[in-house]
């Protein structure tokens, strides 16, 4: 646990040192704020004290931002050779991977925490469903964790950050959109399977305040699969190479 934190701390610091964190936070708050308060289906148009519009825009913004956060986490280490430094220290592959995962997750959590004023503001202008809001935040954290895990995997299979970014988006778009589309265009069992695979299905139900063990199992499996894939790729790229 101590080792995981050492890695996470270092990554987190480098996010903030490299301005990455600030850019991420400002863009995220800008985008989500703009669509929550000013444009499209914003709070005033809907005329309801709800963060639904924020949650649906955050869902999209995170989809694009997270690969940008994770793209360098492992790809850069491999390109600059610093992975050799990490691996020859008394630390396991899993500790490295969890540390990296944690750093990205904390960055996203900080970013999301900064949107709490939206919640407070909306709550002060009308009656808000508190349960739905907290569920929505939990949903955002869970999809973030899923995308981070996918992003880490993408970062582990290449040395190039841009390639890593694109791979993460490519894998991500299936969970984000394509599985859902396939599901809705088909009937019967296929519909059930693909709808279950779609992130949106689970996120939607959560942001409406409903949580099911099915959703939790879904997120846990996506995260775990991504991390296991990362470990396998990293071992292959280093030890076996």
């Amino acid at each position: 646990m101590k080792k995981i934190w050492i890695i996470a701390k270092k990554e987190l610091r480098s996010f903030f040192d490299s301005l990455m964190a600030y850019i991420m936070i400002i863009l995220f708050l800008g985008f989500s704020g703009f669509f929550t308060w000013l444009y499209g289906g914003d709070v005033f148009l809907v005329n309801q004290a709800s963060l639904q519009s924020f949650f649906s825009i955050a869902f999209w913004t995170l989809f694009f931002f997270i690969p940008a956060v994770t793209m360098g986490l492992l790809a850069d280490e491999k390109k600059s050779g610093t992975i050799e430094l990490l691996i020859t220290k008394p630390i396991s592959y899993w500790q490295i991977i969890f540390g990296k995962f944690l750093s990205a997750f904390l960055l996203i959590a900080i970013t999301l925490a900064l949107t709490i004023p939206y919640y407070i503001t909306v709550a002060s202008i009308g009656k808000i469903d508190h349960g739905a809001v907290w569920m929505g935040y939990l949903g955002l954290l869970l999809i973030s964790a899923s995308y981070i895990s996918i992003g880490l995997f993408a970062s582990s299979i290449t040395n190039n950050q841009i390639v890593s970014f694109l791979i993460a988006l490519f894998i991500g778009i299936f969970f984000h959109l394509i599985f859902g589309l396939i599901g809705s265009s088909m009937g019967g069992i296929m519909n059930t399977i693909f709808s279950y695979l779609s992130l949106l299905t689970h996120y939607d139900s959560m942001s409406r305040g409903v949580i099911d063990s099915k959703d939790l199992i879904y997120f846990a499996s996506v995260i775990l699969l991504g991390l296991i894939g990362t470990e396998i790729a990293l071992v292959k790229k280093t030890r076996a190479n």
């Binding site: 050779g81 610093t82 430094l85 076996a240």
Partner: protein, 310 residues
């Protein structure tokens, strides 16, 4: 702590990078690891430091196998890889702290160790600068400080002096020698003079195979089976002397040096010496023997002979 490499092999695809290499390094010994590019030096180092696993064989450090307990082994190794792994956007101090934490240096000792390493490696002026802003030589010092931070018992250095200025090279060599008194040091280099000046023992590897293992004197002798003498004989007719020398039993070849003096380079047959017979010849004929110098083979030639043969 003893490092014993037992029959390790490692392939990249079809190419065998390391082919059943075995050697042993004892505590307090500094061993130079030499070989041409692509000989398998770095691969061997990577296997010893648990970065790669061997296809066959094992490495034991203080009796602990890298296959079974890599975590345990890594605690005792200080490693400076060939591609000096530095986080360019980190300040020197933060980088050293990060490595110290990873190496389990006790929290209350971290500051002290960093201070010591910064001093030993001559980084006092640079410690707050970002690593990327430093010159290559200074970056190399940071790499070395990183390898030494936890006071490891086994030190593995892959080309530690590359990019350093001559003063710094001497300092680092002295440092390695000092450290090497109580520790086990394996030192990869291309610079033969450096290896000769620093190391107790030399191991030469070529296309994945171990071709020599011994002190620099051993290696010279091993490669120099035939004695070579530079001899100057005066007072005699040049041709006559040449003929007489060639008739001696132990002499294989006489090569008159192209100069005004009567000098010759004489190669004896394997495992024999011609010194006495040359002297006797001169006494017999009444010639004056004014010079007889054994020509020592340079380590470079030994290295070339061992690594180019096949």
């Amino acid at each position: 702590m003893e490092v014993s490499v037992e029959n390790i092999s490692r392939s990249y695809g079809l190419q065998k990078a390391v082919d059943s290499v075995s050697f042993k390094v004892n505590t307090g010994e500094i061993v130079g690891f030499l070989g041409p590019n692509g000989a398998g030096k770095t691969t061997t180092m990577k296997i010893i430091t648990c970065f790669m696993s061997p296809d066959e064989g094992d490495v034991k450090i203080g009796g602990v196998s890298v296959r079974e307990k890599p975590e345990n082994v890594k605690m005792h190794i200080g490693y400076l890889p060939e591609t000096n792994p530095l986080y360019k956007d980190m300040p020197v101090i933060d980088y050293l702290k990060f490595v110290a934490e990873l190496q389990d240096v006790p929290k209350d000792k971290i500051k002290e160790r960093i201070f010591e390493m910064v001093q030993v490696c001559g980084l006092t002026q640079e410690k707050y600068k970002k690593i990327g802003e430093l010159s290559k030589g200074y970056q190399q010092r940071v790499g070395l400080a990183q390898a030494l931070i936890h006071n490891p018992e086994v030190l593995i250095l892959d080309e530690p002096t590359s990019g350093l200025d001559p003063n710094q090279i001497v300092e680092i060599r002295e440092l390695i020698k000092k450290i090497g008194k109580e520790k086990t040091v394996i030192f990869c280099s291309h610079i033969l003079a450096e290896v000769e000046a620093t190391c107790d023992r030399i191991i030469i590897i070529n296309s994945g195979k171990l071709v020599a293992d011994g002190t620099s004197n051993d290696l010279r002798k091993q490669a120099q089976k035939k004695e070579i003498l530079k001899v100057t004989i005066e007072d005699g007719d040049k041709n006559e002397v040449f003929m007489a020398l060639q008739k001696l039993d132990t002499i294989e070849m006489v090569d008159p040096l192209p100069s005004y003096t009567n000098s010759y380079e004489i190669m004896s047959r394997a495992y024999t010496t011609s010194r006495r017979s040359i002297f006797k010849l001169c006494v017999e004929r009444g010639w004056a023997l004014t010079e007889m110098t054994p020509i020592e083979r340079k380590l470079e030639e030994v290295f070339r002979e061992l690594t180019i043969k096949n």
